[in-house]
Amino acid sequence: MRVRVEIHNDTLSPWEELASHEQATAELKGRIGAAGVFVGTMRDFNEASDVIAMHLEHYPGMTETHLERICAEAGKRWELLDTLVVHRVGEILPAEPIVLVAVWSEHRKDAFEACRFIMEDLKSKAPFWKKETLTDGSARWVEKNTAGY
């Protein structure tokens, strides 16, 4: 199973990212029967406040290793051909994509379930932290993620 994990400061264009990734993994064409894709984007409100920007921080080294491990674990639990995780860090504005998780497999059950598994593990365990800037210019750390299940 292939695994690709990327964390970067640049704007994330998930659909372009998927197209170029599929081009680079053309040898899997014909074997793939399902692709499960999750894209998380930034909202302009949170906890009853309007949010105008967000800063996303990570732990370089640990975050990448952790995500690679999540993908490897998914590969043990489901029959997967390829996994891709791309996550933004740095300054992010409302409506901008934050994260892309994509999983390719022969059958839909594996793609659906593994994509969800990777995303939920990322939300609950991968070392990332968000700091929001509100309309009055004040900033606050997001203290916890909502439960996904």
Binding site: M119, K123, A126, K130, K144, N145
Partner: protein, 77 residues
Amino acid sequence: MTVDVKFFASLREQVGCEGASVEIGEVATAADVWLAAAGGKPMPPNVLVAVNMEYTDPNREVKSGDEVAFFPPVTGG
């Protein structure tokens, strides 16, 4: 022995530094490292601990040269 300490996100702001090289006794846990590095501030109950980039328990013993990181609950995605 010496260990490298890192603080992330809100903990970095609370402690007032992003990390330091800390001298500590030969037998020490991650929690001892916190006390030595955080200027006597008690460790908040929800703090996550990683040694050499692996999640671990605050009671884990550390070794010379270890990288000991403290951070708040994660909020990515």
